[in-house]
């Protein structure tokens, strides 16, 4: 089959690799119909996530048709399913508590040692995301093997097109989880750093969960425009001092909840970020957490900080005293996707979410290398890319040419 592979920093190539096979009874094999490139794939692309090996198949946002099942799978051939990026067994202590992303069994015994060494406890397994999370092949490919297929995959009714439901795999539940973690009270002011796909779903989720207003922060005009369309007030940090603006918009107290949808590669020409950039060049730090530092300083006393943004290791100049003195509550973590998929699928069917206006491009799997370059370098024009194994090489569709806009 053809698959998108990571070959090193800023090196992505589409290669012919062996087809996946059923290994365990609960496995299923999918033929991929749609697979998106995630913001967190850029952390792999930039080489900041430890534990990648040349030749790894990437991609953790995917859906497709069931083509083969093991004896323990509850899926049937021909079903259309969306697969959560988190691999979860459904029966360990963590899965029973619905903390699916912390699954204690999905990271195999061979790979969990390194993960345990780095994090203190081994992370749960995930598709296409480094060997610290199991080294499972990802879904940016013609086919993928799905372990524990009786627990994760969401069966999709025939009348829902791929674009409406694909994001159940990661970014919609991640945005929802980010807003849930912000413990929003009715009428709250919620500030969201980053208007990438997760940020845009966080904005929608915060409003659905009762926020009075959402203030979104970014610097790409196209992304800020999308945020505004979805009901957020917007701040371009190139035009204002974000903390001053947030204070002035909230009578001096600051937002009740601050959500960092940026993660480890903050943009911005600020002294702390420049220093982080220099250190990151020499791998003396992995984190460039400017947005998180700002969120902690901006948050009101006694407020909540939610961190869906991905971080990989140790951070410098973390405002710990500020966190403590202001009495902030912090919640974070990889999303327990399986906890939310049923509820969110229903909400999609009820028209509660705009899942399509952020999609800027459909592209063939074969053009993945080019798409990663655009996704990395042209974040204003490329707001979300969906790869389609079915499309002929070169058949790239930009938003204005797509049927649904």
């Amino acid at each position: 089959m053809r698959a998108v592979t990571w070959q090193g920093r800023h090196k992505i190539s589409v290669e012919t690799v062996p087809d996946p096979e059923i290994v365990n009874p609960r496995d299923a094999i999918l033929q991929i119909t749609s697979t998106a490139i995630c913001g967190s794939d850029l952390h792999l692309y930039d080489g900041y996530i430890p534990g990648m090996r040349a030749g790894d198949i990437v991609g953790h946002e995917f859906m497709g048709e069931v083509v083969e099942v093991g004896s323990g799978s509850t899926l049937k051939k021909g079903q259309r399913v969306v697969v959560p990026f988190t691999i979860s067994c459904g029966s360990c202590f963590f899965c029973e508590k619905q903390q699916f992303s912390a699954c204690d069994n999905s990271n195999p015994s061979e790979t969990r040692d390194a993960s345990e060494l780095l994090m203190g406890h081994a992370m749960g397994g995930a598709f296409g995301y480094a060997h610290l999370t199991g080294g499972y092949a990802g879904g940016q490919a013609d086919y993928v093997r799905v372990p524990y297929s009786d627990v994760g995959p969401v069966i999709i009714p025939d009348d829902l097109p791929d674009d409406d439901v694909l994001f159940l795999s990661d970014i919609l539940p991640t945005g929802w989880h980010a807003a849930v973690n912000a413990d929003i009270e009715p009428g709250d002011t919620v500030a969201v750093w980053g208007c990438g796909p997760v940020g845009l779903f966080t904005i929608q989720s915060a409003l659905l969960l009762g926020a009075g207003r959402v203030i979104a922060i970014d610097h790409f005009p196209a992304r800020l425009r999308l945020a505004k369309q979805l009901g957020a007030e917007i701040l371009d940090y190139k035009q204002v001092d974000v903390r001053e603006a947030l204070n002035e918009m909230t009578g001096g107290i600051g937002p009740d909840a601050c959500i960092d949808c940026v993660g480890m590669e903050s943009h911005g020409f600020t002294p702390d970020n420049i220093l982080d950039q220099v250190k990151a060049q020499y791998y003396s730090v992995t984190e460039r957490p400017h947005a998180l530092r700002q969120a902690i300083l901006a948050c009101r006393k006694g407020g909540r900080v939610s961190i869906p943004g991905v971080y990989g290791g140790f951070a410098d100049k973390f405002p710990l005293g500020q966190l403590m003195e202001k009495g902030l509550t912090v919640k974070s973590g990889q999303t327990p996707v399986q906890k939310y998929t049923g509820q969110l699928l229903k909400m999609i069917q009820d028209g509660k979410f705009d899942t399509t206006s952020l999609v800027s491009h459909h592209a063939p799997l074969e053009d993945a290398a080019e798409m990663y370059r655009h996704w990395h370098g042209e974040q204003n024009e490329y707001t979300k890319i969906i790869l389609k194994p079915g499309l002929e090489k070169g058949a790239i569709e930009a938003k204005k040419e797509m049927a649904h806009v």
Partner: protein
């Protein structure tokens, strides 16, 4: 070499070499201090201080390698005790080639060692308490002298069972040999820890977890697990 404080170093920019020297000095001082603390601690008689730490976690110098690992398994104690039997070992003990019962609770084990070698152990069960513990001790003809114990205890709040595996052995080539075996991933501690995880996976999910999947690396098969 430029003077750290001289104006020629340029507007207060520290000389990287000088900084490195300061850093190395600090690290050296830190290591010295740690040794000094350790020596002082060794002089103090601590035996009268009670501890609730499991004995295998205590930092005690010994020529034997001692290792213990405890895992929460979300299944009743009786199920797990029943599953911990020789006939099922090949399902989760990856490094065990064969277990040959010799009668009277004694068995001859063939285990994968470093660099394709096989190691033969002869172990006898010294105690077995239903649903609680199984202990063993090696016989003189065993190639590696070892003893161990597996314990099953109820976890609190209905969470299942704490399964604990404790293993002590005389490393055939001393501490260095043990380190080498660890690097080759064929050291009993590494093997036992991984086997215990496989036991947990098998008991909780019905299968041993595998990330076996395709990659663009020619040497790998899509059905074999790889690191």
């Amino acid at each position: 070499m430029r003077n750290f404080f001289s104006p020629s170093a340029g507007r207060g920019t520290p000389d990287p070499l000088a900084l490195a020297a300061v850093g190395a000095g600090l690290a050296f001082a830190g290591i010295g201090y740690a040794f000094w603390r350790r020596m002082r601690n060794a002089e103090t008689d601590r035996d009268d201080i009670a501890t609730d730490a499991p004995h295998w976690t205590l930092d005690k110098p010994s020529a034997r390698a001692l290792f213990g690992k405890s895992l929460l398994v979300n299944r009743p104690r009786t199920d797990l005790f029943a599953a911990w039997k020789v006939e099922r070992f090949p399902e989760f003990m990856e490094n065990v080639v064969a277990v040959e019962p010799l009668g009277g609770g004694t068995a001859r084990w063939t285990i994968k060692g470093p660099m394709g070698r096989e190691v033969h152990l002869v172990n006898s069960i010294t105690e077995s308490i239903e649903n609680e513990t199984i202990s063993w001790q090696s016989e003189p003809e065993s190639e590696i002298a070892n003893s161990g114990e597996v314990r099953f205890a109820d976890a609190p709040a209905g969470r299942g069972t704490y399964v604990t595996l404790i293993l002590a052995y005389d490393p055939p080539a001393g501490k260095l040999g043990r380190l080498g075996a660890k690097l080759l991933q064929r050291e009993p501690e590494v093997q036992a820890r991984r086997d215990l995880h496989r036991f947990k996976q098998l008991m909780e999910t019905g299968e041993v977890t595998s990330s076996a999947s395709p990659s663009a690396r020619k040497s790998e098969s899509p059905v074999e697990p790889h690191i």
